[in-house]
C-alpha cells in the first residue's frame, strides 16, 4: 500500500449540503479548474508538441510535401487519383482522393452494390492490363478506409508495370526497378504491410520517361 489519503478538514464533512447549492459550488470550482486546464492542455500542450516536432522532424510534422522542380505536387502520405493510362493507378477511392473529404465506402460485406462494383472493377482492370480476372489483386478492386490510401500492393504495381512501361516507352525491367524504389517495407520488418507509394512511383515514371 502507498501512503494514506489526504487528511480531511472538518469543513468537508460538516453536515450534508443540499444538492442544489452543493452542485452550484462544485460547478463554479469546475469552471475555474476547466479554464485553467484548458490553457495548459488546449494551448500549451499542442504548442509544445508543435515546437518539438518542428525541431526534430519538421518535414514529417508538416505533412511530407512532395515537390517536383520546387513546386509542391502532393504529399507522400496522401494518395491521388491517377487515371492516365501511362501512369500507375491508385486504389478505388470512396473520397475521390479529395484531401478535404477522407472517407470509406462503408458498404457492408454483403452489399449487392459493393459486390457489383468489385466485379466491374475486376473486369476493368483485367481488360486494361490484359490479364485474367483471377489475377487482379484485392486492393485493385476495393476502396480503402481513408479514401486517400497512398499505396497499392506490390502485386497491383507489378500488374500495371507492363502497361506503364509500354505507354512510356520504358523498359519493363526499369519500371520494375522504379516500383522497387517506391516500395516501403514493413516497419522494423514486421509492422504493417509492404506498399508501393503511387505518387512517388508516378513521379519517378514521369522523370524516367522525360529523362
Amino acid at each position: 500500500m502507498t501512503t494514506t489519503a489526504p487528511v480531511q478538514t472538518p469543513t468537508a464533512t460538516a453536515g450534508r449540503t443540499p444538492i442544489a447549492s452543493g452542485l452550484l459550488r462544485q460547478t463554479v470550482t469546475g469552471l475555474r479548474l476547466l479554464l485553467v486546464l484548458t490553457v495548459i492542455l488546449g494551448v500549451g500542450y499542442p504548442a509544445a508538441v508543435w515546437a518539438v516536432g518542428q525541431v526534430v522532424a519538421p518535414d514529417r510534422a508538416n505533412g511530407q510535401i512532395v515537390s517536383v522542380d520546387g513546386a509542391p505536387v502532393g504529399s507522400a502520405l496522401l494518395g491521388q487519383a491517377f487515371d492516365d493510362p501511362a501512369l500507375f493507378h491508385s486504389r478505388p477511392s470512396a473520397a475521390a482522393y479529395d484531401g478535404l473529404a477522407s472517407a470509406a465506402s462503408n458498404l457492408g460485406p454483403s452489399n449487392e452494390d459493393l459486390l457489383a462494383s468489385i466485379q466491374e472493377r475486376r473486369e476493368a482492370v483485367a481488360a486494361e492490363e490484359g490479364v485474367a480476372l483471377a489475377d487482379v489483386p484485392p486492393d485493385a478492386v476495393t476502396a480503402s478506409g481513408s479514401g486517400l490510401d497512398p499505396h497499392i500492393s506490390t502485386a497491383y504495381a507489378e500488374l500495371q508495370a507492363a502497361r506503364v512501361a509500354r505507354a512510356n516507352g520504358l523498359d519493363e525491367s526499369a519500371v520494375r526497378g522504379l516500383i522497387a524504389a517506391a516500395t516501403s517495407g514493413r516497419t522494423l520488418g514486421f509492422l504493417g504491410e509492404e506498399g508501393v507509394n503511387v505518387l512517388q512511383l508516378n513521379i519517378a515514371v514521369r522523370h524516367a520517361a522525360e529523362g
Binding site: T4, R25, R32, N62, L100, L148
Partner: protein, 553 residues
C-alpha cells in the same frame, strides 16, 4: 516474412510493451492518487480554481463535483463549437449547427467521441485543440477518478470519504495523461503524424489536377485520443487517414496507447487493494475476452470470411494497404475492447463475423479491457454480479474484497447493469420502428439493422466507433445518440459512486478459508462466463437479426 508471422510478431511486440509498462505505470498511478503531497506545479492550479486540495470529499460531494465539472465542460465545449467562426485558427469554418454541436459536446464530455461531423471539413483548429482535445484529457481523467473512488470504496473502512475529485482530476491529468501523451505525440510526429499550424495548401498535381492538403495539430490530439480511450479523429477517416496513422509503427504505437492505461489500471487496482493477484485475475479475465475476440476477428478478416471479401480475394474493402488485415483486426479489437472508438479501417465493411465481434466487444459493457477507468469500474461491477450469484454457492452471503453485497449495493449494481442495455434496446427499438431510419441506413437489410444497433451500442457504451454507412445528421439521431451517450456515461458513474460510498461505509470482513477467493483463475473464468452470459442474454435477439444472420448466410 509471411503476413501471419508478421501479424503474430506485432501482437507479441504489443504484449511485450504492455508487460514492460504494466508494473511501473500501474504502481505510479496508484502512488500518484494516494500520495498526500502536491507538486509545485499543482498548487497554483488549486489556488486558481479555489480548491482546498487537502480536503476529502464525501460520496455526495464527490458525485456533485463530477456532475458539476462535466456540466461546465459540456457548456463550454458547446459554445466553442457553435461559435468557432469567431475564434482564431478556424480555417474559415462556420459554427456547428446546434444539434450537431450538442451531439459532439456530449460525445467528447462523455469520453465517447462519436463523430457526426467530418473533422477536416467542419472544424477549425481551435475547436479541435482547445475544445475537443481538452475534453480528451479531462473526460479520461474523470473516468479514472471514478474508478479510483470505487477502489477506495473497497479499501476504506467505515468511512464516507472517497478522496478529493479535484485532486484526482488534476493529478491524473498532469501527472499521468499529459506526460505520456506528450511523449506519445512526439513519437507520432517522428513516425509521420502531422503537427502543423500551416494553412490548407492547394497543390497542382503532376496530372494537372488539384489536391487540397490540410494538416493541423493532429499528433497532439492523436496521442491523447488513443491514450484517453477517446477515439475522436482529427480527420474524418480517423486512424485510417495517412496523416493520423501513416505507418505500421504509428499503428502499433496507437494500439499500445489505447491499451496502456486500461491494462495498467488493473495493476493500480491490485496495488491499491494490497493484493496484486486480484489485479492479475481481473487482467486475466479481460485478457481472455480480448484475445478470444481478437482471434475471431483476425480469423474472419484474414480468412476473408465474407461475401465481398471472397469476391475481392481479401477483406480489403475499407482497409489501408500499409496496414492490411492483421493490423486492422488488432486495431479494431483494441478500439472496441476499450471504449476508444478510433478506427484504422471501416468497421461497416468488416466481414460479418469480424463486424459482429467488434459489436459484441462493446456489448460486453466495455470491460475487455474497457475505457480508462470505466473498464475497471465496469469489470468490478461484473465481479460483484459474479460473486453475488456464485458466491452464495460457497455457503455465505456474497462479499467481494472484504465488503458484503447487500440489498443497497445490489440496487446500484442492478441499475448499473440495466442502464446500458435498456438505453441500447429502447433506442434501437424506437429507431427501427421509424420509417425514416431505413433512409438513414447506408446498407440495406440485416446489415442496415446492424448499423443502427452498432450506433446505439457504441453511443451508450461510450465507444464512439460506428458502422459508418449510417447517416446520423438528422436531428432525431443527433439527439437520440446524445441522450444515449449521456445516460450511458453518467447514470453508471453516479451509481458507481453511490456504490463506492456504500462500500466505504461498511466495515471490512476478513478473508477466511470460507471466503470465495476472487484472485484465482477459477474466479477469472467465472467472471468471463458471467460477462458473456449477461451480454448474450441481453443482445442475442438483436445479434441474431444482424451480424449472426449475415455471418451464417
Amino acid at each position: 516474412m509471411s503476413d501471419a508471422f508478421a501479424g503474430v510478431l506485432s501482437l507479441l511486440a504489443l504484449v511485450a510493451l504492455l508487460a514492460l509498462a504494466y508494473r511501473p505505470l500501474g504502481d505510479y498511478i496508484a502512488r500518484t492518487l494516494e500520495s498526500p503531497r502536491h507538486t509545485r506545479f499543482e498548487r497554483p492550479l488549486y489556488r486558481l480554481a479555489g480548491v482546498n486540495p487537502d480536503a476529502s470529499q464525501s460520496t455526495r460531494s464527490y458525485a456533485l463535483a463530477v456532475v458539476g465539472f462535466s456540466a461546465v465542460s459540456l457548456i463550454l465545449l458547446y459554445v466553442l463549437l457553435v461559435a468557432q467562426s469567431f475564434l482564431p485558427y478556424s480555417r474559415g469554418m462556420d459554427g456547428m449547427p446546434w444539434d450537431m454541436a450538442l451531439n459532439t459536446a456530449v460525445s467528447f464530455v462523455t469520453n465517447t467521441n462519436w463523430q457526426s461531423y467530418a473533422g477536416e471539413s467542419t472544424l477549425g483548429w481551435t475547436a479541435q485543440a482547445v475544445g475537443l482535445a481538452v475534453q480528451n484529457f479531462v473526460s479520461a481523467a474523470v473516468g479514472i477518478a471514478v474508478a479510483v473512488a470505487l477502489i477506495r470504496g473497497f479499501t476504506r473502512n467505515r468511512s464516507d470519504q472517497l478522496g478529493n475529485f479535484w485532486v484526482d482530476l488534476v493529478r491524473v491529468t498532469v501527472r499521468v495523461l499529459l506526460p505520456i501523451a506528450f511523449v506519445g505525440a512526439v513519437l507520432l510526429v517522428i513516425g509521420g503524424v502531422v503537427q502543423s499550424f500551416s494553412a490548407d495548401q492547394v497543390v497542382d498535381t503532376i496530372t494537372g489536377g488539384q489536391q487540397t492538403i490540410t494538416t493541423g495539430p493532429a499528433a497532439s490530439q492523436e496521442a491523447i485520443k488513443e491514450l484517453g480511450t477517446n477515439g475522436g479523429g482529427f480527420f474524418n477517416a480517423n486512424s485510417a487517414h495517412p496523416f493520423e496513422n501513416p505507418t505500421g509503427f504509428t499503428n502499433l504505437l496507437e494500439i499500445f496507447l489505447i491499451l496502456l492505461i486500461p491494462v495498467a489500471l488493473t495493476r493500480t487496482l491490485g496495488t491499491m487493494l494490497g493484493n496484486h493477484r486480484q489485479g492479475y485475475a481481473v487482467l486475466g479475465a479481460m485478457g481472455v475476452l480480448f484475445l478470444a475476440s481478437l482471434a475471431i476477428t483476425t480469423w474472419a478478416e484474414v480468412g476473408a470470411h465474407g461475401q465481398s471479401a471472397q469476391a475481392a480475394g481479401a477483406a480489403m474493402e475499407g482497409k489501408e494497404t500499409r496496414l492490411g488485415e492483421w493490423a486492422s483486426a488488432l486495431f479494431a479489437t483494441a478500439t472496441t475492447g476499450t471504449s476508444t472508438g478510433a478506427v484504422n479501417a471501416a468497421h461497416d465493411s468488416l466481414t460479418p463475423t469480424g463486424g459482429g465481434a467488434v459489436l459484441v466487444n462493446m456489448m460486453l459493457g466495455e470491460v475487455a479491457p474497457g475505457g480508462v477507468g470505466a473498464g475497471i469500474y465496469g469489470i468490478l461491477v461484473m465481479a460483484i454480479l459474479a460473486v453475488f450469484v456464485a458466491g452464495l454457492m460457497v455457503g455465505r452471503t456474497p462479499e467481494l474484497l472484504g465488503k458484503k453485497i447487500r440489498s443497497t449495493e445490489m440496487r446500484y449494481i442492478a441499475l448499473y447493469s440495466l442502464t446500458t442495455p435498456a438505453v441500447v434496446l429502447v433506442a434501437v427499438g424506437i429507431a427501427i420502428a421509424l420509417p425514416s431510419t431505413s433512409d438513414a441506413m447506408g446498407n440495406p437489410g440485416g446489415h442496415g439493422f446492424s448499423e443502427v444497433v452498432y450506433a446505439f451500442t457504441s453511443a451508450a457504451n461510450n465507444n464512439g466507433s460506428a458502422f459508418g454507412g449510417i447517416t446520423v445528421t438528422s436531428t432525431f439521431f443527433q439527439l437520440m445518440l446524445a441522450a444515449a451517450m449521456l445516460l450511458g456515461r453518467f447514470v453508471p458513474i453516479l451509481l458507481v459512486l453511490a456504490l463506492a460510498g456504500s462500500l466505504a461505509r461498511q466495515g471490512r470482513v476478513p478473508a477466511t478459508a470460507g471466503t470465495l477467493p476472487t484472485h484465482t483463475p477459477l474466479f477469472a473464468g467465472l467472471l468471463v462466463g458471467v460477462v458473456l452470459v449477461m451480454t448474450g442474454l441481453t443482445y442475442f435477439p438483436a445479434l441474431a437479426l444482424g451480424p449472426i444472420a449475415e455471418a451464417l448466410a
